[in-house]
Subunit: 163 residues, 2 copies
């Protein structure tokens, strides 16, 4: 089987959070309380929160954090190569830590996001770019699908459905 669902069962609630903080520090970023909290929130998320959701979760830990700071921090982390930003079709940007490479399939009926990875796909994309005379720097890909009757939610390994 080429494509396999990924990202469902990783135990990353605390470990990845700390490593995001670590990676921030390693990048030489000034670590304020706010950034630490935001890093923990994003690193500990197993979904793809938008800025407001990150702010909501961060506020639960430290009520003083402003939305502007979340925007600034998320931008900073992205520019530092620690986060990736996604556009799932609703107006807002969604974020996740940059762990293993994967792409997303969006359930058109629920909005749920399923992660998958497929080496053959990446090889093909690289080859296509190459044939057009380009070195593939990165790509944006979302599949939009409708569950096949009978095996609908099966691939969605316990992921919270994002509204």
């Amino acid at each position: 089987m080429a494509a396999q669902a990924a990202g469902a069962g990783q135990a990353m609630t605390d470990e990845a959070a700390r490593s995001l903080e670590e990676r921030c520090a390693a990048k030489g970023l000034r670590m304020t309380d706010q950034r630490r909290v935001i890093a923990r929130v994003i690193g500990g998320a197993d979904d793809h929160p938008d800025v407001e959701e990150i702010h909501r979760r961060a506020s639960a830990i430290d009520p003083g954090i402003s939305l502007a700071t979340v925007y600034r921090t998320v931008r900073l982390f992205e520019d530092s190569g620690l986060l990736s930003r996604h556009d799932f079709g609703d107006g807002r940007a969604r974020f996740e830590t940059l762990h293993h490479h994967h792409d997303h399939l969006i359930d058109i009926t629920t909005g749920a996001v399923i992660e998958f990875q497929d080496p053959a796909l990446h090889a093909l994309l690289r080859r296509i770019a190459d044939e057009l005379g380009f070195h593939l720097v990165k790509h944006r890909l979302e599949l939009i699908g409708r569950p096949i009757d009978g095996r609908a939610g099966g691939a969605n390994g316990g992921k919270r459905s994002p509204s």
Copy 2:
């Protein structure tokens, strides 16, 4: 060769414009002067203009057309299945008529958009969705690439660089 650049040399300045107008009428849309002009602009474009650019080009033909009308028309055409909307990373939405299926590669150095189509890619995407338990409804894909030295602009068949 699997992927081939497409969309560069089609003679569509007038023919596709008329056919977009025709398709609008065929869909039962009320054809106002504004819609006719906007249809001609979009149908005649060989690039991927955003709303402001469409408005600019439409205004050159009929100065009375408002931006709001362009937004409404573009939305209408999209909902009628006559247009596709793209997000190339800059904030605004880009549009093009829905002709043959293709995807886009964006030159990271210039922002130029190269169209390509690759049947093997689409087959693979369908298969991936299928393996995850989904019927592939549609997909969003952009490759971001850097020209390989020596054969840089070669694949870009006379396409206007979109700022």
